[in-house]
Symmetry: C2
Subunit: 684 residues, 2 copies
C-alpha cells in the first residue's frame, strides 16, 4: 500500500492516493470528480461542500480514522459564523487529506447533478448548462507593463481556471473597468461556452463573488399561446412559469392566415415579429419581477416553436412556408444573441438557442418533443402525438424515426366550435351520456363534482357553465356515438329517431343540447352538426398523419401512444380511441407526456450535450410531407367516419346502430367538402 | 519526359504535368497558383483571365506550340462579345491544356496581387483582404429531402469552393430566401474570413453573379480630424477620401479635456461616442455617394486612433485613461460588428477591425505607424515621430523597438497660437527672415509664389493672407532665432535691441510682425512671445520623448528620422532641427512618411496577414510611460532653450547672439511654468 492516503469519492466511486495536505477540491479536480467551485478554492463561495466519513470504521474498502482530514480551519469557522455550514459538512477547498478517507459529494455540490423531470416520467437530465460562473482575482494594472484590463482578466481565467481563450461580449466592454475596480480586482464572470467549438464568451461580470445564480428561459412559442419557464441554470428547477396569448393572433388565428397576412401586407412579417418579441419581453419582465432575480442574471433562452413561429421570431418572412416546396430559410439549430432578437428584458449579452426544425411543416417544437420523449431510444414502436393547431406526429423506435405534421385546425382547442371556448373555469371538460336515458352529465373546469352530484351548482357559482373546451368536445362527440345519438358518418339523429328531446332541429340538421340556461339568460350549450364536422376533420387529419407514418414504417399497429401537449394531458384516451383520433392500442399503453415541447426546451436549456444529440437526431429523422402524399388524402377521407369496427371496450357494444339513410346529410356534405378542401390547401 | 503536357506559370514559376483537357483554372488550383475566380469556373466572371504564350518557341525551358491550348470556345466568344477580352487573353476556366505551355497570370487576375504604396516608399502590400466574393449555384429545395435554404447554400460552398463551414450573419437571414429565388438559385456571397480562426461568415448575398466589388474604409480617427479612405478590397486602390472635423471638439479641444468632460458629466462619454459615430456615418455616406457604390458593398472598416478616441469609439468611458496607471479597457486588437458601433451607413453585417493599442498613452495610431514604417524591420536605428496633438514616438531597429507618447499640445497644428490657423488657403506655411534686414518673406497655402515675388498679391486674391499654420509657425520661430531676433531662451528682442521695427512691444514682451494689413481692415499677423512659449513647450515635449527612448536604448544618436502625420509631410526638416524638435541627424536622413497612421490602416484593411504581424509586433514593443519617468521631465526642462550648439548648417553661424539679460522675461516665465505643469499633468 502506498504511503500516500487513499481518497475515495461517493457517489462517483473515483479514488486515488494523494500527498498529505492536498485539499479535497484539488484531489477532486485531479480525479475528475464533479465538485463545484465558483471561487476557485478561496473558501468564499462554499459551493465545494463535502461530507467526509469520520471515525474508526471501514467503508468502500477504506478504514477511515477520525483524523483523516485536516482540522476545521479559520476559513471554515468564519464561513460557518457568517452563513452556517450544516453538521458534518466541510469546505472541500479547505479540508486537506491526512489519512485514508471517504468523501461524499452531496447533490448540491455537483455541477452536473442529475435532475429528474417533475412529471415522474423516466427521463432524467444531467445539469450541463452553457453558462457558468467563475470567480477570478485579476492583476492590477501596472504602468511599467501596460496591458488592458481585459487582457489581465483573460490571464486570470487562464491561470486560475485553465480557460485558455475567451472573448468579451461587446456589451460588457463598457462596464469592465468599473466592475473590476468596484470588486477591488476580484470579479465573477458568467462564461457562455456552448456545444459548438466557438470561443467561450464572457457575457456578464459582477464585482467580487456573485452568488445569486444564473437563469434561463425555456419558451414554448405556440401559434396561440406562449409559455415561458424561468429555470435556475444550476439546479435545473423551474422557479416560475408564465404564459400569454400570442399577440400575432390578431393577424390571423392559424399559421396559414399569418403567412397570408405577410404575403398581403408589405412589412406584415415585421409587424408580427415585433409583437411576438414584445410579448416575450413582457413575459421575461414579469418573471424577473415575480422570481426577484436581476435582469442581467437572465442569460439564456431556449425556444421551441413551429416553423412559421420560428421564422417570425427570427425576423424572417415566412412566405416560403406557405407554398410548396415549403422551404425553410434555415433548418439547423441556431444560436443568436438576445440583442439580435430585440429581447431587451434580459441580459443584453445573453444567448438564444433555437432547436432545429425537422422540415418545413415540422418544427423545432416537434424536435423538442423528440428530445423529451426520445422515440429514437425506444425499444417498442411508439407513436408520439403533439396536438395543437397543428399536430406533430413522430413514429419510431431505436432503428428509425419518422415525422410529419398534420393540419388538425383549431377544433381540438375548442376554437371554431359553436359552444367552444379555451380551457378555463366554466368550461365543460368531461362529459358522459347515458346510453339508455340519453341524458348528459358533465364536469366543469374549476369544480371536482359532476353536474348531477350534490353541491355542483354551488361549486361553480363563480364561473357558471360557460362553454365546452377541447377535451370536452372530444368526449361529447365520442359519447354521442356511444349513446347511439349519432351514426357512423357523424350525423346527429332527430328527437324522433333517437328518442331524446335533447336532439333539437338546427337548420337542416340537428344539435344535441348539453346544458340550457337560456331561460335564465344563461348560455345554451350544444353540440351542433358543424361541430361534429370540425372534430371529424381534425381527427381525420390526425389519424391520417399517424397512418401515413405507419404505412411508411410498414406496420399495422403501434406498441405505445404518447399524447403530448396541454391537450394531451387532458384528453381521455378512451374517447380519443372511440373517436378514431389515434390508432387502437391497449388503453394502458396510452401515456400523457404533458407539455413535451416545453420539457424539451428545458432539457436543451439545462444540458448542452442534449443540444448536440437532438441536432444529430433531427438529421436522422425521416420527414414525411403530408401535403404531397396522395395516401394522406386517402387516409384522411377514410378516417372521416366514426365506425368502431375495432372495439376494445365492452360498453361500446351498446351502441345502437341507426339507419344512416334516415339522416338528412345534404348541407353537411357540402360544408364538409368545402372545409376539407380548405384544410388540405392550407396544409400547415 | 512525361506524356502529360507541362504547364509553367509566370510570374510564380510554379509548374507541373497535367492530363490533356484539364482547364488552366483547375491546374492553377492544384499547383496553388494565385489565379482569381469568383464564379468558380463557369465562364461568367472573367476574373481568371490569363495570357498564354503561343507559337513555336522555347520559353522557361518549355517549347510551346501553337496548339498548346484548346481552341477559343463559345463561352469565351460570348464573353468577348458582351464585354470584350483583351488581345491574347483567354479565360482560364475555359482554356484547356493540350500541349506544353507557359501561362502568364496578369496582376489583375491575382487575388494576392502586390500593391505598391502610392508615396513611392519601399513598403509593399500583398492584397489579402478578409472579405471575398464567391459565386455559387445552390440546389433547389425538395419536399422529399427537406433542408433549409441556408443549409443548401452551405453545401454549395463546400462542393464548389471547398469551404467547409460558414455562418450566416443574423442580418442576412431575412433576405436569404428572396435573393436565392431572385438569382434563380445562383448567388454571390461576400464571405468574411479574417486572420483569427473563427468560422467564416457570410456578410452579404447578391442574386446571380455580383461584379461590382467590395469596399472598405481605412479611418484615421484623430482628436481633431477624421480621415476616411474608401478602398477597393480587390485592387487596394483608394477610390475616394474624405475628411471631417472630429465633432467631439465641442466637448474639449484636447484629449484630456474630453476625459474631463466624461468625468464631470454623467453620460458625457456616451454623448461623445454618439457624435463621433455620427461623424463617421456622415463620411461613409458621402463616400458611398461620391464613389457611386452601393451601401451593402461597404463591408469593412479599419480604425486607427489614440487610446481616448479608441475608447470613445467603442463606447467605453475613457476615465481610466485620464489618471495613473492609465489602464486601457482592452489593449489587444479588436474585431466588432458595424452594427455594434451603430455604423448605419454601411453593410449592417460589416466588420470593424481596430488595431491594438501599445499602451494607455500610445494607441492604435502608433501601432498603425509601426505597421506602415516597420521600425522592427529596419537595419539602422530609426526614430519615427508622428506629430498630432500628441506625438507618438517609436525608436528601434530589427532587434528592439521602443514606443512612447508625448504631450505636445496643439501648437504644432496652429492652435493656441495668436495668429494661428489650420492648414488651409491663406495660411502662411513657409517663412524666411533675412538675417541682415530682418525682413520676412513667406509663402501661403494656395500659391506657389513667395510674398516678395511678382504676382503674389494676384495669386492669393481669393484667400488673402489669413494666419499662420503649424509648419509656418515652426519656421517662423526657427527663422527668428537664426536672424538674431530671439535669444537662446526664446525671448524676442525689442526694436532697439534688434534694429528691426517689426519687433513691437506687446504687453511686457515683444511680438514680431510678419504681415500687417490692419490699415486695410486686414489681419495683423505676428509671432508673440506666448506663441514662442507654446512652441517651446511643444518641441520640448517632443524632443524629451525622443531623448527618453534614446536613453532607454542607450544611444546618443539615431541613424534616421521619419516624420509622419500631415504635419510631418509639410514640416521643414532643417527648421525642425534648428528648433530642436528632433535629435540632430544628417538632413538627408530625415524622411517624410506622409500620413503613416492612415497608411497603416489601409495596409490592415487590404491584408489580413498584416493584422497578425502588427498584433505580434505590438506585443514585442517596449512601452515607456513618459508621465512617470523623472528623466522625461529633466529632458523636457533641458530642451526648452533653442541653443544651436550642434550646427549642421553653415548659415546658422550668422546668428547674432543677444545678451539675454537685456530681455524682460518675468511674465513669460510665470506663464511658461503654469502651462508646463498643465501639460505634464495632462499627460496625454
Amino acid at each position: 500500500m502506498s504511503s500516500k492516503p487513499l481518497v475515495v469519492f461517493t457517489p462517483s466511486g473515483k479514488r486515488g492516493h494523494f500527498e498529505k495536505g492536498t485539499s479535497i477540491l484539488q484531489i477532486a479536480r485531479k480525479l475528475g470528480v464533479d465538485l463545484d467551485s465558483v471561487c476557485g478554492g478561496r473558501g468564499i463561495c462554499s459551493k465545494c461542500q463535502i461530507t467526509p466519513s469520520y471515525g474508526e470504521f471501514t467503508k468502500h474498502g477504506v478504514t477511515v480514522s477520525a483524523d483523516a482530514l485536516s482540522e476545521w480551519n479559520k476559513v471554515e469557522e468564519r464561513y460557518h459564523e457568517k452563513r452556517g455550514l450544516a453538521e458534518g459538512r466541510r469546505l472541500g477547498c479547505q479540508a486537506c487529506v491526512q489519512g485514508d478517507v471517504v468523501i461524499d459529494v452531496p447533490a448540491e455540490s455537483q455541477v452536473h447533478k442529475q435532475v429528474i423531470r417533475k412529471d415522474a416520467s423516466v427521463r432524467s437530465v444531467n445539469m450541463n448548462p452553457a453558462t457558468r460562473l467563475f470567480y477570478v482575482e485579476v492583476q492590477e494594472p501596472d504602468m511599467h507593463e501596460p496591458s488592458g484590463d481585459f487582457e489581465r482578466l483573460k490571464n486570470a481565467l487562464q491561470d486560475q481556471w485553465s480557460i485558455n481563450d475567451v472573448e468579451l461580449d461587446y456589451f460588457q466592454l463598457n462596464k469592465l473597468q468599473r466592475v473590476l475596480r468596484k470588486g477591488n480586482w476580484a470579479v465573477t464572470v458568467a462564461l457562455y461556452n456552448d456545444h459548438t467549438n466557438k470561443t467561450p464568451r464572457i457575457i456578464e461580470i459582477w464585482p467580487g463573488l456573485y452568488e445569486k445564480g444564473l437563469y434561463g428561459l425555456a419558451i414554448d412559442l405556440g401559434s396561440t399561446t406562449i409559455a415561458a419557464h424561468l429555470t435556475d441554470l444550476k439546479s435545473g428547477d423551474v422557479l416560475k412559469s408564465a404564459g400569454a396569448m400570442n399577440p400575432q393572433i390578431r393577424f390571423g388565428e392559424d399559421l396559414m392566415s399569418r403567412v397570408s397576412y405577410s404575403m398581403m401586407n408589405v412589412g406584415g412579417d415585421k409587424e408580427m415579429t415585433t409583437v411576438v418579441r414584445e410579448a416575450i419581453n413582457s413575459l421575461a419582465k414579469q418573471l424577473i419581477i415575480d422570481a426577484e432575480i436581476e435582469k442581467n442574471a437572465l442569460v439564456e433562452v431556449v425556444f421551441v416553436c413551429n416553423p412559421v413561429m420560428h421564422h417570425l421570431l427570427l425576423g424572417i418572412d415566412p412566405v416560403e412556408l406557405g407554398q410548396a416546396p415549403f422551404a425553410l430559410a434555415s433548418s439547423n439549430a441556431m444560436t443568436v444573441r438576445t440583442s439580435e432578437l430585440d429581447l431587451t428584458e434580459m441580459n443584453p449579452s445573453g444567448m438564444c438557442y433555437i432547436l432545429p426544425c425537422i422540415a418545413g411543416h415540422v418544427g423545432a417544437d416537434a424536435a423538442a418533443v423528440a428530445l423529451s420523449e426520445e422515440p429514437n431510444k425506444s425499444n417498442d414502436l411508439v407513436l408520439v402525438v403533439d396536438v395543437g393547431t397543428n399536430a406533430e406526429i413522430l413514429l419510431g423506435n431505436k432503428s428509425k424515426v419518422l415525422a410529419c405534421s398534420s393540419p388538425t385546425g383549431p377544433a381540438f382547442e375548442g376554437a371554431q366550435i359553436s359552444s367552444g371556448q379555451r380551457a378555463a373555469p366554466g368550461a365543460i371538460e368531461r362529459i358522459e351520456i347515458d346510453p339508455v336515458t340519453k341524458e348528459p352529465r358533465f364536469r366543469v373546469i374549476g369544480s371536482s363534482l359532476w353536474s348531477d352530484e350534490k353541491g355542483f351548482d354551488e361549486s361553480i357559482k363563480n364561473s357558471g357553465v360557460t362553454g365546452i373546451c377541447g377535451s370536452g368536445i372530444i368526449e361529447a362527440v365520442a359519447e354521442l356515438r356511444m349513446a347511439g345519438l349519432m351514426d357512423e358518418s357523424g350525423l346527429i339523429g332527430s328527437a324522433e329517431l333517437t328518442g331524446s328531446d335533447r336532439c333539437i332541429p338546427d337548420g337542416r340538421t340537428h344539435s344535441y343540447v348539453i346544458h340550457d340556461q337560456s331561460d335564465q339568460n344563461g348560455p345554451k350549450i350544444t353540440v351542433s352538426q358543424n361541430d361534429i364536422r370540425a372534430i371529424q376533420l381534425a381527427k381525420s387529419a390526425l389519424y391520417a398523419g399517424a397512418r401515413l407514418l405507419m404505412d411508411e414504417m410498414e406496420v399495422e399497429k403501434v406498441d405505445r401512444v404518447v399524447l403530448a401537449g396541454a391537450f394531451g394531458a387532458h384528453i381521455s384516451s378512451k374517447h380519443a380511441m372511440v373517436l378514431g383520433m389515434i390508432p387502437d392500442v391497449a388503453l394502458e399503453k396510452v401515456q400523457s407526456a404533458g407539455n413535451a415541447a416545453g420539457t424539451g426546451a428545458r432539457i436543451a436549456l439545462c444540458d448542452i450535450s442534449s443540444r448536440k444529440s437532438i441536432e444529430s437526431t433531427v438529421n436522422k429523422i425521416e420527414k414525411i410531407e403530408t401535403a404531397i402524399e396522395p395516401k394522406f388524402q386517402e387516409h384522411f377521407v377514410a378516417a372521416n367516419a366514426i365506425p368502431h369496427k375495432t372495439d376494445p371496450f365492452p360498453e361500446l357494444a351498446k351502441i345502437v346502430e341507426l339507419p344512416s339513410v334516415l339522416f338528412n346529410s345534404g348541407a353537411g356534405k357540402k360544408s364538409r367538402a368545402r372545409r376539407k378542401t380548405r384544410i388540405l390547401n392550407n396544409a400547415d
